[in-house]
Amino acid sequence: MKQIHLKKIRVIIALIFFLSLTFFFIDFRKHLPEFLYDSFSYLQFIPSILKFVSMLSISASGFIIVLVLTSVFGRIYCSSICPLGILQDIISWVNKKTRRKFRFRYTSPVNYLRYPLLALPVVFYLAGSVFLLLLLDPFSNFGRIVSDIFQPVYLGINNAGSRFLEKLNVYFLYPEDITFASWETYIFPIFILALVIWMTVSKGRLFCNSVCPVGTLLGLLSRISVFRISMLKDQCTQCGKCAVVCKSTCIRIKDLNVDFSRCVGCFNCISVCPEAAIKYVRNKRQQVIPEEPGSRERREAIQTLGLILFGIFGFRRKLYSQDIQQDGIPVVPPQNTFPTEIKPEKNYPVSPPGSLGIDHFTGTCTACHLCVSACPTQVLQPSLLEYGFTGIMQPYMNYNVNYCNFECVICSEVCPTGAILSLSKEAKKITQIGQVVFILESCIVYTDNTSCGSCSEHCPTKAVKMVPYTSALTIPETNPDICVGCGACEYACPTKPYKAIYVDGHSIHKVAKEPETEELEQPDLEEDFPF
C-alpha cells in the first residue's frame, strides 16, 4: 500500500467517529440503539478507564486497545478517534479553505504545561476527585460543547423544520421545547470551544500537545512505538513542505527531526512530500535521528506509564473500597427529616438511578453530558453547585424541569464512564434515589380547601396516596418506603414559590419496597347496565 493513502484512511475513520459521536450528543430522541453508543464510546480513553475502574469489566477495556494501538502506531488516537481532536482538524480545514497562505512552523514542546496538566489530574484522581479530569478530558469537553451549545441549535432547526412541515400537513418531525440549564454552566464549554478554536487557528494542535492529558500520556507512550514518522536523510531535499502542513508543529527540518511525542498521526506530511522522503516506518530499522537514546527513553516511558496505571488500579481501588466501607457500615445513612418550615430542605441533590449514590457518581462522572442529551424528559441537567464546586457541570435530577420517567433507563445505557451503571428496568423500578417529603402546611388542599391530588396522580408507585380529609376532600399521605424518588410529585405540585411535596436525595441509593398489590374482583360481564 502506498503511504500516500494513509491520510485518506485517517480522514475516513475520523469522520465516522466524529459524525457518530456528534449525532449521539445532539440526538434528543435517541434514535440509535444503545450498543452503538457503547461501541463508539468504547475507545474513548478517559471514559473507558473510569468505567474499567468502576466496573472492573472487560467490556470497558477500550483504553487498553488505545494503549496498544499507540505503542504500535503512535498517537493515531488523537487524529482518528478523539472527537475533540477531529473537531480541531475540521476547524483547521475550514481555516485553510478560508485563509490563504497559512503555514505552520516548528515550535518547541510546552513541557512546563503539558506534564503538570497530566500529573495533576492523575494526582487528583488518586486522591479521589475527578474534578481535573472533568475539566480536561477531551471526550467530555467535546460532549459538553456539542450537548450544551450545538444541541440547542439542532433543536431550533428541528423545531423550525417541524413547524414548516406541519404547515404542509406533514407530521414527521416534532418540535421539542428547549430547556436551558443555569447560564453559569455554559461558561466553561464556551471557554473551551473558544480556546480550541483560537489554538487551532493560530497554533495547530497546541491544545492536544499542551492542555490535553490524554495527548501527553499517549505522547509518552508513542516514544516507544513500533511505527513512527521518520525523515529519510538521503532522499530529503529539506524543502520544508512537511513542516508547513504539520499541525503539531513537531517537524524540525534543520536536523530532520520529528518530535514523535507530539505527532498526532495525521499523515499530512507524507501526503505532501514530493520526494517520498518522510515515511511511516518501523522504528528499529531506521536510525534517522542520531542522538535518540532509544533504550533509555523507552525504559523511562514504560516506567512512567506503569506507575500511572499501577496507581490508578491499585491505590484508587483501595481508596474507593474504603469509601464504601466507611459509608456502608459505620456511617449511618442520612435520614430524611420532615421540615416544619415551608421552604423544602434538601439534604442532598438527587443523582440519577444507577449511579449508586453521590460519592460514586461525583467520583466517576466527567460531565460529558451524554446522558443530558439523551434524557427524554430532560430531567437530567448540568449542575452548578448542587454537588459542590468540584462537581460543577455533573448532571443532577432537576425536578423543576421534569421528572424521571418510571420506565426509562436510557442514562444508564449511554453513560460511557460507568458513573451511571447499567440498570435493568426492573431494577430501576425499585431503586430509591431519594425519598418524598410532604409539607402539609403548603398543600393546596390544606390552604385553599380545594381538590388537588396532582402529586398522587403522577406517582408511579402510589407512595403518595390521597386519603380522606374533610367530607368532600382528600389530602396526600406519603409512604416513603415504596417511593423511588422520581420527582413526579415535586414536578407536578402546583404550589408556589415552594413546593408542598419534594424529593430529598439519598447520599447512597437504597432499594425501595415494592408496592403491595391485591387482586381485584373481576366484574360479572353478564350483569345488567347500572343505569
Partner: protein
C-alpha cells in the same frame, strides 16, 4: 428576566385577543385554517334535526372495543352525522402515561384505530390524533400503542407537548378559568372527538370525558392551583367536543390515573357514546360503582348547563353485543 417580562407581555397581548381574531391574525396565513373556517358547518345543527330518532346516550357492552364502537356509532346515527366530507377531524384520546395497553391507563388503541377508520369512511380529509401527555410523550405515544394504531388507520399523529402549539382562548362563562391556552388542532379542526378511558382518579375521583379535556390545554397545574373541579367544569362552557366516546373496556378501578400494576384493572368491555359530555360522565361513573353527585366537576358542569347529569331524563340506548 428580560425574556420573562417580554413573554408576559406577549401572553397578555394574546390573551386580550378573541379566539377567532387570534386565529385570523396568528394562523390566518395558513390556507388550511382559512378554508377550515369557511367550510365549518357546525355539526350541532345537524344533530338537532335527528334528536327525535336517536338516543341521547348509547351504552354498548360485551364485545371488543372496535365492535363496540361499530354498534355504538350506528345507534347514534353513524359517523356521517358528525363528519362531513372534506372536514378535518381531531381525536383526543387519553395518551397520558408511559404504560402498555393492558394497564388501562390510556385509551384503547384498537378503539382509536376504528374511530379513525369511521372518520375516513365518512369522508374526512384529515384525521389528527393528539394529547398533551403527562409522561414523556414520545415514549407514551409509542408504548400506549396508540401512535402505531392511529398511523396504521391513516391518521396524523401530532404532539401536544410543545407550548408553541397552544393559543389563548377566553372562557366567557368561566368562573375560575377565564383564560386558557388550547392546542391549535382543537381550535382549527371542524370536528372534535373526545375519547377518554374510564379510570379511577386520585385528584378528581373519576376521569372520563370532562376530565380528559385537561389534555388539550397547556398549563394544567394552574387548574390544580385554582379550584380544580370548577376549572374542569368551566372549560367545556367554551369548548365542547362534538362527540364523546368513553372507553370502558379495561377499567382502572384504583390507583388511578396512572395505576401501579395490571392488578388495578378489570375488564368490563363497555363503551359509552354521547354528544352530552356530562351525561356520558354520569353514566361512566356508575360503571365504577359510584354516584355522579359525588364528583365535583360533574355536578358543577350540570349546574352550569354544560350537559345533563340526570340519566332518568335522557333517552338511553343500551346495546349488548
Amino acid at each position: 428576566m428580560r425574556a420573562v417580562i417580554f413573554r408576559n407581555f406577549v401572553t397578555i397581548y394574546l390573551l386580550r385577543m378573541e379566539r377567532r381574531e387570534f386565529i385570523k391574525k396568528g394562523l390566518g396565513a395558513g390556507i388550511l385554517t382559512g378554508s377550515a373556517l369557511a367550510l365549518k358547518p357546525y355539526p350541532k345543527s345537524f344533530a338537532r334535526h335527528h334528536s327525535n330518532q336517536v338516543p341521547d346516550l348509547v351504552a354498548v357492552k360485551g364485545g371488543e372495543p372496535g365492535v363496540l364502537f361499530d354498534k355504538g356509532i350506528l345507534a347514534l346515527g353513524g359517523m356521517k352525522k358528525y363528519v362531513k366530507p372534506n372536514q378535518n377531524v381531531v381525536i383526543k384520546p387519553n395518551i397520558g402515561w408511559d404504560t402498555s395497553p393492558e394497564r388501562g391507563a390510556n385509551t384503547n388503541p384498537e378503539l382509536i384505530a376504528r374511530i379513525v377508520e369511521h372518520c375516513f369512511s365518512a369522508g374526512a380529509k384529515t384525521v389528527y390524533v393528539v394529547d398533551h401527555s403527562t409522561d414523556e410523550w414520545t415514549r407514551t405515544y409509542k408504548n400506549s400503542g396508540i401512535e402505531k394504531a392511529a398511523r396504521g388507520a391513516g391518521a396524523k399523529v401530532a404532539t401536544g407537548n410543545s407550548e408553541s402549539h397552544y393559543h389563548p382562548v377566553h372562557v366567557k362563562n368561566g368562573k375560575s378559568l377565564k383564560n386558557v391556552l388550547v392546542h391549535e388542532l382543537i381550535l382549527e379542526s371542524d370536528v372534535f372527538i373526545n375519547v377518554p378511558v374510564l379510570k379511577d382518579h386520585s385528584s378528581t375521583m373519576v376521569t372520563a370525558a370532562l376530565k380528559n379535556l385537561m389534555g388539550v390545554v397547556w398549563d394544567r397545574r394552574w387548574w390544580h392551583d385554582n379550584n380544580l373541579h370548577q376549572c374542569i367544569a368551566d372549560f367545556p362552557t367554551e369548548i365542547k367536543p362534538d362527540l364523546n366516546i368513553v372507553d370502558a373496556y379495561r377499567v382502572m378501578k384504583r390507583n388511578g390515573p396512572r395505576g401501579v400494576s395490571v392488578s388495578d384493572v378489570v375488564t368490563m368491555k363497555y363503551q359509552l357514546l354521547s354528544e352530552d359530555i356530562v351525561a356520558v360522565d354520569a353514566a361512566a361513573i356508575k360503571l365504577l360503582g359510584r354516584e355522579p353527585g359525588q364528583v365535583g366537576h360533574i355536578r358543577i358542569a350540570d349546574q352550569m348547563g354544560v350537559g345533563t347529569v340526570d340519566l332518568t331524563s335522557l333517552d338511553i340506548s343500551r346495546i349488548e353485543v
